[in-house]
């Protein structure tokens, strides 16, 4: 829990700094927008975390986000290129496809004994490939479909803005469900045991393959759900949607204390890690600095969005470096305390 606490403090400090630079950071519009993006990435990160806790990895979730959006657009969009089916048809088919992809990849990994990395790396490509083929490499707009409301509406509105947007509500549901699965069920315990020591889990009679399969299915399903929200949020479906999201999800999990070695992680950590990722992302556009130029005119400095990759990467590295350093320091302090006590 210590690591989670440290990261939470770091997120709070960054928020305070951003608010200091730009008071709009805590403005109603920005906060609600931030919560929505945290929700969409968070759903993805929770699914990825389950897989990482078993000691595996799922690189295909970004592609599933893309394919889900494309399927819904193709089947249910009222505009050019869409097939005009009711929206629930598109959503159901998209979720079913996500589930089948999870099942397929999970079976390859558990029954055929293939490496999760290579199976889902293949997935990252062929799944997006199918999406591109379906839409011929073009972009389909959702036009005036009510589907657009999904990501932008919600419960308890102030003016035009919902306090609890549907993506954020979805995230809360995913957190509750994920927290329950991970920390209160036998399934969750098995995930940790398998990630901690797969052989010992097998020798203890755990249904190792079934549990792992479950993790990959859940990961693909959360990607599907997240994909629905993303599609509704950007109001169209194109071949580049969700590009690299698998890595954001993994980064969010790792920043939140989920160990890539497996067997470690908490749902609270995933929430904090996701918040960190999205606050940074949002901060790059919100950050500003007023200064007087040589002629004495008031100017404002902004970071462009082209800074995003650099800053995000730096933050991920800083997070793990800082974590390791505190780890070293704590150990040193403990040793010293022991020595003092013994002497």
């Amino acid at each position: 829990m210590r690591r989670e606490l440290g990261m939470a403090v770091a997120v709070a400090v960054i928020c305070a700094f951003l608010w200091y630079s730009n008071h709009h950071f805590f403005g109603q519009y920005n906060v609600l927008d931030l919560l929505r993006t945290i929700g969409m990435l968070g759903i993805l990160a929770i699914g990825s975390s389950l897989v990482i806790i078993t000691g595996g990895i799922d690189l295909s979730v970004g592609a599933i986000v893309c394919l889900t959006g494309v399927l819904i657009a193709k089947l249910s969009s009222p505009s050019t290129g869409g097939l005009h089916y009711p929206i629930w048809v598109g959503i159901s088919v998209a979720l079913l496809v996500a589930l089948l992809i999870g099942l397929f990849q999970g079976l390859l990994i558990t029954r055929l004994g293939l490496q999760p990395f290579i199976v889902t790396l293949g997935g990252l490509m062929w799944i997006r490939g199918i999406a591109e083929v379906i839409i011929n490499g073009r972009t389909i707009s959702f036009g005036s479909s009510p589907f657009n409301n999904l990501a932008n509406y919600g419960l308890l509105s102030i003016g035009h803005e919902a306090i609890f947007s549907y993506p954020f509500l979805g995230f809360i549901a995913a957190v509750l469900l994920g927290g329950y699965l991970l920390h209160m069920t036998v399934f969750g315990r098995y995930l940790f045991a398998i990630g901690g020591n797969r052989d010992a889990a097998y020798y203890s009679g755990l249904p190792v393959k079934r549990v792992e399969l479950g993790a990959y299915i859940i990961s693909a399903l959360t990607a599907g759900i997240s994909g629905i929200f993303y599609a509704s949020f950007i109001q169209d479906a194109g071949p580049t949607v969700g590009h690299g999201y698998e890595l954001y999800a993994i980064a969010a999990a790792v920043i939140g204390g989920v160990s890539l070695r497996g067997g470690e992680g908490t749902i609270v950590g995933v929430i904090i890690g996701t918040s960190m990722m999205e606050v940074i992302n949002n901060g790059i556009t919100m950050f500003q600095w007023h200064y007087h130029n040589s002629k004495g005119h008031l100017r404002t400095f902004h970071l462009g969005t082209h800074w995003q990759d650099f800053i995000t990467g730096a933050v991920i590295l800083l997070a793990v470096i800082f974590d390791q350093l505190t780890h070293f320091l704590n150990r040193r302090k403990r040793l010293k305390a022991q020595a003092a006590k013994a002497a």
Binding site: M184, T185, Y202, Y203, S204, L335, Q338
Partner: protein
């Protein structure tokens, strides 16, 4: 070594320990697990720095900041867990980190030539091009020693060198130790095995709780004396008193079970409440047989009958459902999740059966674990302690605990006392006997003949993956077992 002191969080690993080794002497260092032997050896080999004390080599004080420093002074440690790179050949392993080169390129010819010389010196007659991964444990040990000698080792530390060696491999090792001794190499020999120490050592130092408790020359070093020093009390009876066992019902019938990689099927019966000892050399197929019964690798043919029900053990799940449990040979790798707590390890195989199924009850879990902790006297500060932080004997008890919480019918114990200190051993023996008295049938696999004779009601001797004989306890002796194991 003079007045060596080392503190770790929570413990003083060594306090004011001194040790003398003369040139060409074999010094045995004995002590229970956790007595400080390993720490002392790590300090001597430069892997760990002491908090206080001095080390003198040839009468001159030295500072060992790193393993490199120690190597330069001719001190080499051969670890208990062998550390060779399996994907490299013998020559590459011997010269690992000290490769010979010409014009910046590896001089493989020279390395093969020179490593061949070192192999000769340890009496290993195989090609230096053999991949280390294909060697037997005994051969690896020899390569490790050859590697140490190639660094001009004058002080050789052997940490439990025979723990994974067969009888004949151990014999060979003893011969080589004799030769090295004659060549003036000093040897520090760490072992739990009394017979070896009595046979090899010129003198014996005993550690207990990080302190020197005794030093004696071979003539004085009787088994009783050493053991009483190690545990600090007279231990005249390691094993529970003999019992006369007469089986009434067959608990487990193994019929024509053919293990993967063997030609001949195996059959035997296990009576209810019996302790059936499995003796044999390393590689005789004992672990493979019991792992097949437990379903780790399903058999090619044959089946197992438990009670009246016949089944083929296709996975551990199948075996566990019937009540057959295995405490594996390598408990760290196969028996425990080291990063999980004692409680979670104990509940692991059974937690799927706790009610209600959809909600973990930490209260129930803790109660079950606490019962095992009390019953088995598992020495853990709290039930939430991570298993990886516990000593070998305590870990073994956690493995036992997780199965005993589930009411076993047949309990397979594969080398249950390997790496377990003397005090904990006696405790584990007593508990095994209690389980058998309570009607649990036990398959007891061990490489220590004495242990088999001390515990088993009947003895199965395995050789070349076949059963070479089954004897009631009172018709068998060390000599008979040894003879059958090697095939007379």
């Amino acid at each position: 070594m003079r007045g060596i002191t080392k503190r770790y969080p929570g413990v003083v690993a060594l306090s004011d320990v001194s040790l003398d080794v003369r040139r060409g002497e074999v010094l045995a260092v004995m002590g229970e697990n956790g007595a400080g032997k390993s720490t002392l050896m790590k300090i001597l080999s430069g892997a760990v720095m002491p908090d206080a004390g001095v080390i003198e080599v040839d009468g001159k004080p030295v500072v060992l900041n790193s393993i490199t420093d120690a190597t330069a002074l001719g001190i080499a440690l051969v670890h208990q867990e062998l550390m060779l790179a399996g994907n490299l050949d013998i020559a590459a392993n011997i010269f690992l980190g000290a490769e010979e080169s010409r014009f910046g390129m590896l001089d493989k010819a020279a390395m093969h030539r020179d490593s061949g010389k070192w192999l000769d010196r340890v009496g290993l007659r195989i090609s230096t091009r053999t991949l280390a991964g294909t060697l037997t444990a005994g051969q690896m040990q020899m390569v490790e020693i050859a590697k140490a000698l190639s660094h001009n080792a004058r002080i050789l530390i052997l940490d439990e060198p025979t723990s994974s060696l067969s009888h004949s491999e151990s014999e060979k090792l003893f011969d080589i130790i004799g030769e090295l001794k004659a060549q003036g190499v000093s040897i520090i020999y760490i072992s739990h095995r009394m017979e070896e120490v009595q046979r090899l050592a010129d003198s014996v130092s005993v550690l207990r709780d990080g302190k020197n408790v005794g030093h004696m020359v071979r003539a004085e070093a009787t088994k009783e004396k050493i053991v009483s020093m190690m545990v600090g009390r007279e231990l005249n009876n390691w094993y529970p008193p003999r019992r006369s066992f007469k089986g009434n019902t067959i608990a487990l019938k193994v019929e024509n079970l053919q293990v993967v990689g063997t030609r001949s099927p195996v059959s035997f019966d296990l009576w209810q409440g019996e302790i059936l000892g499995f003796a044999g050399l390393v590689g005789a197929g004992r672990t493979e047989l019991v792992e097949t019964i437990f379903g780790i690798t399903p058999p090619i043919a044959g089946h197992v009958e438990l009670g009246d029900k016949r089944f083929t053990p296709t996975s551990p799940r199948v075996a566990i459902k019937r009540g057959i449990y295995l405490a594996p040979e390598d408990r760290k790798r196969n028996g425990l999740v080291l990063g999980m707590s004692v409680t979670k390890n104990i509940s692991l195989p059974d937690i799927g059966n706790y009610l209600p199924r959809w909600m973990l009850r930490s209260g129930t879990e803790l109660r079950v674990a606490q019962r095992q902790i009390d019953q088995l006297k598992i020495k853990t500060p709290t039930p939430r302690q991570l298993v990886g932080m516990l000593s070998g004997g305590t870990q073994q008890k956690v493995v036992l605990g997780k199965w005993l919480a589930m009411k076993p019918k047949v309990l397979i114990l594969d080398e249950p006392t390997r790496g377990v200190d003397v005090g904990a051993k006696a405790e584990i023996y007593r508990q095994i006997r209690e389980l058998a008295d309570a009607g649990i049938s036990i398959i007891f696999v061990s490489s220590e003949m004495e242990e088999i004779l001390g515990m088993a009601d009947r003895v199965v001797i395995m050789r070349d993956r076949k059963i070479a004989g089954i004897y009631p306890r009172d018709q068998v002796s060390q000599e008979i077992i040894a003879a059958r194991m090697i095939g007379e």
